[in-house]
């Protein structure tokens, strides 16, 4: 376990920031980049993957913005370490599963990170709390510019940045916002929302990004189209869509609360009781309870917790975070007991 130092730090993205923090969690920008002279990771042999990784890391070390960053080689991480990084939204589920000779570079405050040899040679990511797509894009873009002076990117005048998957070609950019939409889910309107997102060239994914399930009514909404729109246009469009979704969630919450006031208050306060007094808690149950608490705060129901504390509980009570903190692996049963203890200590 090489990551214990991270436990002392707060992940930047869980901070409570800006308006509507009961609905918006974080904003993320990811740029996919490849090197011109090598096959993409999936088509490179292990030795070549290593050569590519070494070359990229030697260049990353020259970027002043990344001076204090930490670099981890994927093959040196334990399964718990990898899961820990997924839980912190620093690496993708795909990289955690992958047998590629890869790396993860993590900058100050975990705002900027670079995955090496995931599906593409480079995945440059910026992650910030609140709705903050433009600033996040600017940071990522500066690092991308610096890297593009040091590495020969695969780029064509016609198709833009060339990526392993044609769904990323062009800008190579995926912009996403992690949203908490309990009222839309609990009133069964989520499928309708997802359908209308598709028509707008947007897509919603689960709590940990691509290929992951939705948990506690959290969704990552992101752009689907990467070719033919500029980065600014993509960010602008996503921001507008996200603002519409927030408006909708608020409207639905209000009418839902008007209709079922006592029912909702009962569930919200019971959720607090369960979190405070349970002896065993699965992560699934924790997230369901947390969903009610967050919605309760949004509705103005009096609760002795803040959004920031809830976010912290959400982060720290994930399985690998529990294991890294205790320095040992836990079976399912032990995990539920330790989780309940931890949550209780915060409430």
């Amino acid at each position: 376990m090489k990551l214990t130092s991270f436990l002392k730090k707060e992940a930047n993205w869980i901070k409570e920031k800006g308006e509507d923090s009961d609905i918006i969690v974080s904003s993320r920008i990811r740029l996919a980049r490849n090197l011109k002279n090598y096959p993409f990771p999936a088509r490179s042999k292990k030795e070549l993957q290593k050569k590519i990784r070494d070359e990229i890391i030697s260049k990353i070390k020259k970027i002043s913005y990344l001076k204090n960053s930490e670099i981890f080689l994927i093959e040196e991480l334990t399964p718990t370490d990898k899961r820990f990084l997924v839980e912190r939204h620093l690496i993708s589920y795909d990289l955690a599963k992958s047998k590629n000779i890869g790396a993860i570079v993590i900058g100050d405050n975990e705002i900027l990170s670079i995955m090496v040899n995931e599906e593409d040679h480079l995945r440059i990511q910026g992650l910030n709390p609140g709705l903050n797509l433009f600033d996040t894009y600017n940071i990522v873009s500066v690092v991308d510019d610096e890297l593009s002076k040091l590495l020969s990117y695969a780029y064509s005048e016609e198709f833009g940045y060339l990526t392993s998957c044609p769904t990323n070609v062009g800008t190579g950019m995926r912009a996403s916002v992690l949203l908490h939409l309990p009222a839309i889910v609990k009133t069964n309107q989520i499928n309708m929302l997802l359908e209308s997102l598709t028509r707008l060239g947007m897509v919603a994914r689960g709590f940990y990004g691509e290929g992951t399930k939705s948990l506690g009514d959290f969704f990552q909404v992101s752009n689907q189209i990467t070719l033919g729109l500029s980065e600014r246009e993509i960010v602008d469009k996503l921001e507008r869509v996200v603002k519409e979704i927030i408006k909708k969630e608020k409207e639905v919450r209000e009418s839902y609360y008007k209709r079922e006031k006592f029912e909702i208050e009962d569930r919200v306060l019971r959720s607090y009781g369960v979190l405070k007094y349970a002896v065993k808690l699965s992560y699934q149950e924790l997230m369901e309870r947390i969903s009610y608490l967050r919605m309760g705060i949004g509705l103005g129901i009096k609760l002795p917790v803040t959004i920031e504390l809830i976010n912290k509980i959400m982060l720290l009570s994930q399985p690998a975070h529990l294991e890294e903190r205790l320095g040992k692996s836990l079976n399912f049963n032990e995990q539920e007991i330790e989780r309940a203890k931890l949550v209780k200590s915060f409430l």
């Binding site: 088509r43 599963k97 833009g160 044609p166 997802l194 500029s230």
Partner: protein, 161 residues
């Protein structure tokens, strides 16, 4: 009691919610099957059927001979299977075949957006940079790379005149 959606044998004790093709689906699984779904079985499922699969069918129907990319050896039918290219040259190799696909995915065929900084530098800067690279290549005894760089520098100097 509800039975597991996968083995249809054991009682379902774990519930999964997943998003497949923009649709929320609920899966009820037994612990055994949930475990089998991998390392991260309690949260993660690999969504079956990628976004691309409906677009990939029929891509190679009209091309009898197997085209292969010179850069990485990928064939069109391999691309169809995985939906992933092997190298950046694949885009040039399969250009005619993938235009329809790109159009359907993105509604456009031309990049609009930023360019690598290297393309924006002046010819003088570029020559200077390549000469630095050349020195380094010679020092490291990478003669093949040095030869390529030498050609590039010569070409750029010619263009300048």
């Amino acid at each position: 009691m509800k039975l597991c959606d996968i083995c249809k044998k054991n009682p379902a004790t774990v519930q999964f919610t997943q998003i497949i093709n923009n649709e929320v689906k609920k899966l009820n699984l037994c612990e055994e099957c949930a475990e089998k779904m991998g390392l991260f079985s309690d949260f993660f499922t690999t969504a079956g059927g990628t976004l691309l699969s409906p677009f990939l069918k029929g891509l190679s129907e009209f091309f009898e001979e197997e085209i292969r990319c010179k850069g990485c050896g990928l064939s069109l039918s391999e691309f169809q299977e995985t939906g992933k290219f092997g190298c950046s040259q694949c885009y040039e190799t399969f250009k005619t075949q993938i235009k329809g696909l790109l159009k359907r995915l993105h509604g456009s065929l031309t990049h609009k957006g930023k360019t690598p900084k290297i393309l924006e530098e002046s010819v003088e800067d570029r020559i200077r940079r390549l000469e630095e690279e050349l020195k380094e290549a010679v020092k490291k005894e990478e003669y093949e790379r040095a030869a390529v760089l030498r050609d590039k520098i010569r070409e750029l100097k010619k263009r300048k005149k």
